[in-house]
């Protein structure tokens, strides 16, 4: 593991050098706390920081607090202090230091504390790794709380399989936020995130409990509507568009009006062998949503599979064409 020593006392630095070297750790030493903080800002954080209570440049409490503010990957902080500084050093423990060792340093005690520190830090890093892994496995989009792309894709596959088995119709909607990229560029990601979370909540309120709904792309949502007939998709889409535009969205940059474009696609499932796979469906939905956006946005483009064909290119424009509901 990598360690950093911050101590103005050259004798203490030699002792720490000896202890860390014996334990096989790579380390750097600083006499000045500000220099160490500047290094932390430029390079990956060390696993361990051994700080003297009275390092030059910045006191131990402030240094410990600033290190802890670096987030969950902050190093394990072992503070060194003279016996008379114990009370003040306890303050440092409350604001971010992990352990305290008295000077003059004894190598045996120091090595023991280093071992504890390294073990603790390794456990912390393992917790962070497991947390990241759990988030990855939870299949929840962290911003909106909806199913993420992998999860909604799986639900789509499940519904397609069920539709085939039950010969039940499935409605699919790809909802694309109009002008989102430009909005993000102008107002920033924080405002963009507010737009996405608000739209997600408004859409969720209109959809039925048993509809599956997830985040498909940066500014795209996919709704999988089991049992929804093709001739119901247009009206449902209009209700969704109305819900989105019903009120402006509150963002850090003020209130903004937002609209969406919807690509709708209906699968009658009355001829199970004609049902395309997920990639084909996704391509059709994206084509429909893009066409709705290019036509000015805030509208729906409804396509349905031609019963006489099994290719997406033969999908019929149901909004403008003769098959429109």
């Amino acid at each position: 593991m990598r360690a950093v020593v911050v101590d103005a006392d050259p004798v203490a630095r030699v002792l720490l050098h000896e202890a860390l070297g014996r334990a096989g750790h790579a380390f750097e030493t600083f006499a000045d706390g500000e220099e160490a903080l500047a290094r932390f800002a430029r390079e990956p954080l060390p696993a361990l920081a051994i700080l003297d209570w009275r390092a030059d440049g910045v006191d131990g409490v402030d240094l410990a607090r600033r290190l802890r503010s670096l987030g969950p990957r902050a190093p394990y902080v072992l503070l060194t202090a003279a016996p008379g500084e114990r009370e003040a050093a306890r303050t440092a423990l409350t604001v971010g230091a992990d352990d305290l060792i008295e000077k003059p340093l004894r190598l045996d005690e120091l090595e023991l504390r280093l071992r504890i520190g390294m073990r603790t830090q390794a456990a912390r890093m393992e917790v962070l790794r497991l947390r990241a892994e759990l988030i990855g496995r939870s299949r929840v989009d962290l911003l909106t709380g909806l199913a993420d792309r992998r999860a909604i894709t799986e639900r789509l596959q499940d519904e397609l399989a069920r539709g085939k088995r039950m010969a039940a119709p499935i409605g699919l909607l790809l909802i694309d936020v109009d002008q989102f990229r430009a909005f993000n560029d102008v107002f920033g990601h924080e405002a963009g995130d507010a737009v996405l979370t608000t739209i997600a909540a408004r859409l969720r309120r209109v959809l039925r409990r048993y509809d599956s709904f997830g985040r498909w792309g940066v500014e795209e949502f996919l709704a999988v509507l089991p049992g929804c007939k093709i001739d119901q998709l247009g009206a449902l889409s209009e209700r969704l568009l109305a819900a989105i535009r019903s009120d402006s969205v509150v963002t850090s940059q003020g209130r903004v009006a937002v609209t969406c474009s919807i690509g709708a696609f209906g699968l009658p499932c009355d001829a199970p062998e004609d049902i395309p796979d997920v990639d084909v469906i996704a391509a059709v939905l994206e084509r429909a949503a893009n066409e709705a956006a290019r036509a000015g946005g805030d509208r729906v483009r409804l396509l349905k599979m031609d019963a006489r064909s099994d290719t997406p290119d033969d999908a019929v424009d149901a909004t403008d064409g003769p098959d429109a509901p």
């Binding site: 103005a8 006392d9 050259p10 004798v11 203490a12 030699v14 002792l15 000896e18 003297d52 009275r54 003279a82 008379g84 000077k103 003059p104 340093l105 004894r106 190598l107 045996d108």
Partner: protein
């Protein structure tokens, strides 16, 4: 106050704290001999300038270095100077600096003898 010439130097104790590593002890003594003049000069300069806050910090730093080798008169005087300076007793702090210098010189001399002699 204790005899400043009685340094209370405890190199055996330091050697025990570093697993009996004689090479490391020699290195520590060398580092101390290099840095002690700078540390005591900083104390002297702060006292001369009447800069009590700096005097407290410099006395603290000197005390910290000394603590590895001794808790004898030099360490006690450095501690007394620091405490007096921190409570704002400028006269009391500055008055002890000369005595501290003598005590530190005694430590330096004894460390030098050790390094030059059989001890090293």
């Amino acid at each position: 106050m204790a005899d400043p010439q009685d340094t209370g130097l405890d190199l055996d104790g330091l050697l025990a704290r570093i697993h009996g590593n004689h090479g490391a002890l020699t290195q520590l003594v060398g580092v101390m001999l290099t840095h002690l003049p700078t540390r005591i000069a900083a104390v002297r300069d702060a006292a001369g300038a009447g800069d009590i806050a700096t005097l407290a910090d410099c006395a603290h730093a000197l005390k910290g270095s000394l603590s590895n080798f001794t808790t004898g008169p030099s360490w006690k005087l450095a501690s007394a100077v620091e405490q007096a300076a921190r409570r704002g007793d400028a006269a009391g702090a500055i008055a002890q600096v000369s005595e501290l210098e003598v005590a530190v010189q005694a430590v330096q001399a004894e460390l030098q003898v050790w390094r030059d002699g059989d001890g090293a």
